[in-house]
């Protein structure tokens, strides 16, 4: 069985949640696998990171380089190509850095590439059997990936539950000397922090959240009227921001805000995982969507198949009516 490596995403010396999820993913490839963590970084942060990783990995490869103080995919790719043996399986979290790194890494390692894996069904012969989602999660696909020459696999954050068990007290091996001189055609400048926006959607108990089903900018008012009546705020999914119907500060999801309301009314939202990743704290999720097959109905508590452009105004009227009576 090929050796398995896990690329560790981290910040400020703290491993990302995916660090332990990749151990679980490796065990799905091969129950007997003991994956090696590859931690690239610099300074005291890297030392702290490696110390933490020893609890979940038997082997931690530490690669220190001044340029890794902020991760640059091209430099990190070049370092990995020097240290990872041919034929290995490299697991990488499927997030903004992994998307930068992994496809090019697979080319330089001459390895197969399969991305955004949500489940692994083990290995049969030379084929790794995985599950991916397509079309925004409306359907899933069984995919076979030929791993005889190795593979780079990106793994969806949150898809693999961390294993329970005692700390393994692993060994840290310093591989920094093997990396050599690195140069890249891309240089990090700065991070521009998201604007706060007019309404802080993270502060509301009830969110009326709209998706593509709102259809046009003029219809956003329908959701706003309901939110006003309920004392809630209007949030949205990515297509609404892409279309410039609402500000980016209203977007819930992995590339937007993380919210923890008590009630989340998903209106005309299909339920792509990037959107669901922004909803935390298990709110009561009510989904209203015209499409009975929308993935949102799989995760909602209550679902209604209806046109939000007709349903929401009636709900608004009902709230107002109730308030008049009260």
């Amino acid at each position: 069985m090929a050796r398995i490596f896990a690329y560790i995403a981290h910040k400020g010396g703290v491993p990302d949640d995916t660090a332990v999820e990749l151990v679980a993913a490796a065990k799905k490839i091969d129950q007997a696998a003991s994956p090696t963590a590859v931690a690239l970084g610099w300074g005291a942060d890297l030392d702290a990171l490696c110390a933490t990783l020893r609890a979940s990995y038997a082997e931690v490869w530490k690669i220190a380089h001044e340029t890794f103080a902020y991760p640059n995919a091209e430099l990190i790719r070049k370092a990995l190509v020097k240290v990872v043996p041919p034929g290995s399986i490299v697991l990488v979290p499927h997030e903004h850095f992994g998307i930068d790194l992994a496809p090019g890494l697979s080319i330089k390692l001459n390895a197969a590439f399969v991305s955004d894996v949500v489940a692994i069904d083990g290995v049969e012969g030379n084929d790794l059997k995985v599950v991916r989602q397509e079309f925004g999660g409306q359907v899933s696909a069984h995919v076979r990936c030929h791993i005889a020459a190795g593979a780079v696999v990106t793994v969806r954050p949150g898809a693999f539950k961390p294993l329970e068990g005692a700390a393994v007290n692993g060994n840290v091996a310093d591989k920094s000397a093997e990396v050599g001189v690195l140069a890249a055609g891309r240089r990090y400048l700065e991070t521009v922090v998201a604007e706060a926006g007019d309404v802080d959607i993270t502060k509301f108990n009830v969110l009326v959240s709209i998706g593509r089903g709102i259809q046009e900018k003029d219809n956003v008012g329908i959701a706003q009227e309901l939110a006003d009546a309920l004392g809630a705020a209007v949030s949205c999914s990515r297509p609404v921001v892409d279309a410039k119907w609402m500000e980016k500060s209203r977007q819930v999801g992995s590339s937007g805000k993380t919210v923890k309301p008590k009630v989340y009314l998903a209106c005309g939202i299909s339920g792509a995982f990037q959107h669901l990743a922004g909803i935390k704290g298990s709110p009561f999720l009510i989904a209203i969507n015209k499409n009975p097959k929308a993935p949102i109905f799989q995760v909602a508590d209550v679902g209604i198949v209806d046109d939000i452009l007709e349903f929401l105004p009636e709900l608004t009227n009902k709230v107002r009516e109730m308030r008049r009576v009260a």
Binding site: H96, I99, A112, H146, L230, G256, G303
Partner: protein, 263 residues
Amino acid sequence: MEILVCARRVPDTSENEIELNSTGNDIERDELVYSINEPDNYAVEEALQITAKVGGQVTVVTVGGEDDEEILRREMAMGANQGVLISDDAFQGSDGKGIATILKGFAQKGNYDLILTGVQAEDGGAQVGGMLAAMLDYPFASLVNSIEVLDGKKLKVGREIAGGNREMNEIDLPCVLSIQTGINEPRYVGMRGIRAVASVPIPTPSASELGIDPATVGSSAAKVKRVDYFVPALGKGAEMLRGSREENVEKVLELVAAKGGLK
């Protein structure tokens, strides 16, 4: 600036409910509405905005068959100078690496300063742009949501990272960028615009014309193969309210009040 945009025609998820076919091995493709992959359309718009500022030409390329010509005409109607359909039976069944290999063959026949792809296709893996960059040894940035031309040799690009933050980078030309949706507002294309380009010839280079070894593309070279599609049972699923609209409205109001409280 000479810009190449790599685009794909895909089933349009905003127009279709994607379902399994009766045998369950593929999605139901009868009566599917296809369109250009959404991020690819943003990439073309971005290319047009760049050339409007600094001059140059925009070429849109796709790998496929004659059905795929329609997206090239659409993007030419938007303003792209040329559409190219790379087509060869040898390309059937290519995986992401195969597609990147084909695009590399085409890119090397030209002299492009900038190559754009969409960040991901509806049924794809956010892979072709990064692979193509590595094959060409060009710098790469994914999830790009802003581009500023600094001079003839460099760009300043923003990348979408977690939490709505933007990572700013300087990147040397030539390079490959994968474009995220929302980077711009793609212009509207009307029927008249599409008619105006209906008879513009679209070159259809083959594997041999591009110097592509057929053994490196197509299903025989593909290491990654989709076996079938299925619809997973995730969790227990929602309790579906099947009453009249009025009953559903009342129930929802009751639930919101009970679970979240009304202010």
